[in-house]
Symmetry: C2
Subunit: 229 residues, 2 copies
């Protein structure tokens, strides 16, 4: 219990752990154990993958029985660093920034909105999701006083790099970028990008392939990203 092997966890596994965690958290309270196969079904993946993923955290299952849900939740949360909350600051209080700030799902999963900033005087002072919109000049102060290490960029593309620079300058070390722009940041800052138009374009690609049945295989079901009944 006290020792932590702290082995390296593959990135692909890290990307699935939050999904397992969500599913486990939503399970009925009277279900105290779950098998890799049950969890796999709920997550839409292969059972062997679930076992391998969980094995990176340690040997927390019991053969012939499965995994104890409460304990597994605890272990996954610990591994993901969710033993404490990670306050988040949102830059840009437009359509998307407001939707994000209003979204209860963030605080529920350990990411309270510690601040929202904008440059538009019309937006500053308004309250969204219980948080008052501040001027972007106050960003650094907010980040430092609230010990924020994660920033969300929800500005127009032209302002995204500026926003990122501000965040990095204030000490933020992780950025979630919604603007369709490639951000330049120091190597020790993590950036993840969510581009909704890209998602649609990927769907469009497969959609198009579907309608022009290739000479070889008629339907190459893309098992990678698609969940099936």
């Amino acid at each position: 219990m006290s020792d932590r092997p702290r082995r390296r966890i593959p990135e692909a596994t890290v990307e699935r752990l939050p999904e397992y965690l969500r599913i486990l958290s939503e399970l009925d309270d009277d279900l105290d154990h779950i098998s890799s196969e049950q969890l796999a079904d709920l997550a839409g993946v292969n059972a062997a993958k679930v076992r391998k993923d969980l094995s990176y955290l340690g040997s927390y299952g019991t053969r012939g029985v499965g995994y104890e849900v409460a304990y597994l939740v605890f272990q996954v949360r610990r591994e993901l660093g969710l033993t404490h909350d990670w306050p988040v600051i949102i830059v840009g209080a437009g359509n998307l920034g407001q939707a994000l700030a209003n979204y209860a799902g963030f605080v529920d999963r350990g990411f309270p909105v510690a601040g929202i900033v904008d440059v538009d005087p019309a937006k500053i002072g308004s309250v969204i999701g219980g948080v008052r919109v501040r001027h972007v000049d106050e960003l650094a102060t907010l980040v430092r006083s609230r010990k924020v290490s994660i920033g969300v960029v929800a500005t127009p593309p032209g302002a995204a790099q500026d926003a990122a620079d501000l965040l990095v300058g204030a000490g933020v070390t992780s950025i979630l970028n919604f603007a369709p722009t490639v951000l330049s940041v120091p190597r020790d800052v993590s950036v993840r990008k969510v581009d909704l138009a890209v998602e649609l374009q990927i769907l469009g690609f497969h959609e198009q392939r579907r309608s022009v049945p290739s000479l070889s295989i008629v339907l190459d079901a893309d098992s990678s990203r698609t969940a099936s009944a």
Copy 2:
């Protein structure tokens, strides 16, 4: 020109093509050629990767010169199926659904919002981004009359499977899911999921690792998803 090799394109490449396309589209008009290295820099990836990605589309570059931007844009658009628009229907006109409908970036990139539906009488009839919100009962009619093949699920998690079933029943074959739920759909329907809380949790994981310097390597810069200066 008339022949189309129609080779299989790796999924990883498909996921990068939209980004290349966006960058190419935003280039100065007076730049008529671009090298793989320049494009790689702009996209924050390796030049060899750009060349390999583009080589799946065909040999559209010229050695010693680079790629002709206009022609490359055309080819990438063709490959992604963007020779025509893909109308999209949004289910759920809440915070997120409204932000999406208001977002000009979709229609700009070939995905006009053909309809928005909801169950809430208070929302039905209002106009968002130039589109009137309809009752969810009209979904099938809308999908058929506007030839929609892509649906966006922006309902609360509890209603997401219902929304997906409705979409599939109406003939939609690609779904972009924003609800934190695993959707069950027939095997021939593509689903992509965007879970913003998952993105934050992944950042949180790396954030935590950062603060507990592992015994082995102090900072394992995650090159996979992070763009760096």
